[in-house]
Symmetry: C3
Subunit: 369 residues, 3 copies
């Protein structure tokens, strides 16, 4: 090396002023779902649905093998978009119209494309603004079993690099993406009842009642494992894994410390709700909207509840019903304020996550007869 | 949602008064052993037996591929029983007559059934009692290769929900379960010696001597990784993962902090002993009895020793012998008491785990000729 | 057990006086690369090369499937040598002539042989000395696809057990080992360009310029996850995982605490450099030399830079070029000394790792046309 090499500082990811409405990112990498990734995230979240745990059960239902739970499909697909869309983000603001299509199996390779819809400045913070994008994940692109596995929009709060840069104006329409939950046929000859003991006896469609709220019984404390988990997803956002960056200017960052990647509470809340809500599901159809309402840090314990908001028939599938519900994640924080009804004395309850869900749930009449 | 939804608090698991002698649980879920789960636990425990590490070696010995070490089979099978049997337990008291049958391979799916044998109150603590159960794990239920992989009894200390509830009386007999260690035939034509360098030269049957005690050289410090490991096993007991629950009433819980799931020191002690005791084994036959003698917490360093208690021929298998031994796990705790012979000054040695084992061990005469 | 069993204290690993020049170790165990191991380490290091992430891409390039990145091949092969060579080591001093051969796929089994070249005492520390060894890793020994995957030399600082023992004299020559990077043929009919969006647009051979230094943008904070990672590799060295041993005599150990296994920063630095340097690579050819220049501990954040030192044609492969470079890892430590140009105020920059690399990199002209 010469005495004074020319220094190249690589920046990764885009800043607010880089995004153009109508622009399309074909994200790098792609990701093959290995049994290692599958086990880590499915089991981390304590998913109770036997479709994701018991390959014999999954095949008896007409799937090719263990089925990735929706939270894992989401984590893999979402993370592919981070470098281009949110490596330089402060926070993810909203998930919109997240729909699921083909099942994701071990061995499938996910590739993702994102379209920029809109960019707007923050009204209060000149170094920030909001980018609105639409992303679509396909599996096995170019192969016979190529299929859309997910599509979603999100709004994300992104930093500017140059405070004086102009933002790209305009608005692009989201693409129409054919993405409908794939379901195995109901097979009158299959003896589903012989496997009914493998899922809960009281989480069939007939068991839900609109206007109720189910407090899920379990909690799960997060540790700094989140750094490793986030890396495993190829999520490269530095606010999750670069303590030195935080130490240099803590005030710049949410909570002044490493923040847990939002995908972690997303999938953990799905998992905590799973024994009560999801273990007789054949899939999540759509998340119309969702958002993180408070940050999560190592040491916090996550809890979840589900509000049942509506019950519908599933068109063309008398064996299934659709449960419309809202998943709510929360944690407790020490508090010296007034005691409240929803927290033990000395603590306050803080909502961390909200997600509207429509789930395809089996009817007991057809599966546990 | 209406203003005041009806709240449903889901309780999971059974309490002391819920168990009925003779009652049978067919546990939910089942669990397919993925390469992710296999790698995590086999490697966590530092198992030295090439049957669990080297697929070429395992196939040369007549197995279908990498073989789950007994500790992993136990972790998977045991954890399936937690929600029904010990989600509301304070401690696991005793393992009894734990026997191994068919080998467990990657891809096998484990399902478990448990029978309640006996329930009795605690003499000293009115909110606790002891449940005695028998569990049996099968793989690939309904398929051509369905087989019993393990059966065992255990006694577990479980909380009551209602202090005034009556306990169910009576006693059920354990079922007779055919569960004998599957062993590949000894193949005179196989050139076992060509692979003898892959295991220790001094852990054949001929190397053991009754009345000796082997102090295994390695220690392993546990971290809060145990929370993640326990979740990967679908073990839902809250005392391992819910810090908020502990914070609300620390005195109620062993040590006033998150306790490490007993399956972790169980498998770790097996692993620590493995280079000296287990790497020329073709399988563990039976654990007549075992128990945890002190809790393990994050930060503790685990050590192990093995007492060789007896040596027997293996009926019908001149290539093998049976080693009867006792595996002992311990840790060291700071101490201001009298110095003792078995700990450095300022420390005391605390036993954490005891397990009687009978192991099928290769004879050098047949495998390293 | 009798009252006073005979105690056997098993020592594992060799001490300085045990090594004989010319001696050969056929290391125990061997290790099959599972999808669990593959996912854990490839993803931990945030490798950006699609060959290790996207099975469709890898097969389109002529590989059999996902390809282990060189850092993972190195971790698996190196760790197999630890028990015999460096279980009783204080530090690994130097890597020499580390060359790569056949690609390693999931399912391959690695076995390693080591030859002792030279042993010499430390001039300043009587309880230490240096062992110089050559190791060679083969996959699928005895099978049709047996192949050398790596060969390397290293110098390691090892403790003596007996201060008065004589060291074995003499010097053995390294074996000639045929180990050349396997490369898939360039296929004129393949439509590489259709997948060019899956890797960086600016990391082709044409993009590199000798005399430049690339500061890679990302940092990654290490946690005590390193204990678990090291166990997964079957690396049994106690200085990485036995806190009790450290607590008994902290001054004896580097930094007075658990030190992170050098393979971890090795692979992490490769990963951090990967988006800029390695994601259009078809493989690392050779690491002529490398060394750890400071220890790494839990809590440190790792950064990396690469100096481009030379550019050469790849003989017989007009589609490729060879980039000669030096990978440099560093961390920042709090400092009250004089401010320096290369660290923020109050911090100093500490180099932790240096590795000379020659990499086979695709030319844009042939792959992104």
């Amino acid at each position: 090396m010469p005495e004074s090499p020319r220094i190249i500082r690589r920046h990764t990811g885009n800043f607010l002023e880089d995004f153009r409405p109508g622009q399309t990112f074909r994200h790098k990498g792609g990701k093959t779902v290995t049994e290692g990734l599958f086990a880590t995230f499915t089991e981390f979240a304590m998913t109770a649905n036997p479709l994701a745990k018991n390959a014999h059960y999954a095949r008896a239902y007409g799937y090719d093998g263990l089925v990735c739970p929706p939270g894992l499909a989401m984590l893999v697909a979402f993370s592919q978009t981070v470098e281009d869309v949110s490596e330089n983000a402060r926070a993810n603001l909203e998930y919109i119209d997240m729909r699921f299509g083909a099942p994701v199996y071990v061995g499938d390779t996910i590739e993702v494309v994102t379209k920029v819809l809109h960019v707007r400045p923050s009204s209060s913070r000149p170094n920030l603004g909001i980018v609105h994008v639409q992303s679509t994940a396909r599996k096995n692109v170019g192969a016979d079993d190529e299929a859309v596995v997910m599509t979603w929009q999100r709004k994300v709060q992104v930093y500017k690099r140059d405070m004086d840069a102009e933002l790209h104006a305009g608005e692009a329409s989201p693409d129409e993406v054919a993405c409908e939950l794939w379901l195995p046929d109901y097979d009158r000859g299959a003896n589903y009842g012989s496997r009914a003991h493998l899922s809960s006896p009281d989480s069939y469609f007939e068991d839900f009642e609109a206007g109720t709220r189910i407090e899920h019984s379990r909690g799960r404390t997060m540790t700094d494992e989140h750094i490793h988990l986030t890396a495993m997803l190829d999520n490269t956002s530095q606010v999750h894994c670069n303590q030195f960056m935080i130490d240099l200017d803590p005030k710049q960052y949410v909570g002044g410390k490493l923040i847990i990647f939002g995908g972690i509470p997303f999938v953990l809340c799905l998992g905590l709700s799973s024994p009560d809500i999801g273990d007789n599901s054949l899939g999540d159809i759509v998340y119309p909207t969702g958002r993180h309402t408070a940050p999560l840090f190592a040491g916090d314990t996550v809890f979840a509840a589900t509000e049942i908001n509506g019950l519908r028939d599933f068109p063309g599938r008398p064996d299934l019903g659709i449960v419309e519900c809202r998943l709510l994640g929360h944690k407790f924080e020490r508090s010296e304020g007034e005691p409240s009804d929803d927290a033990p004395e000395g603590w306050k309850k803080t909502g961390i996550f909200e997600l509207d869900r429509e789930i395809a749930i089996k009817r007991r009449s057809h599966y546990a007869g």
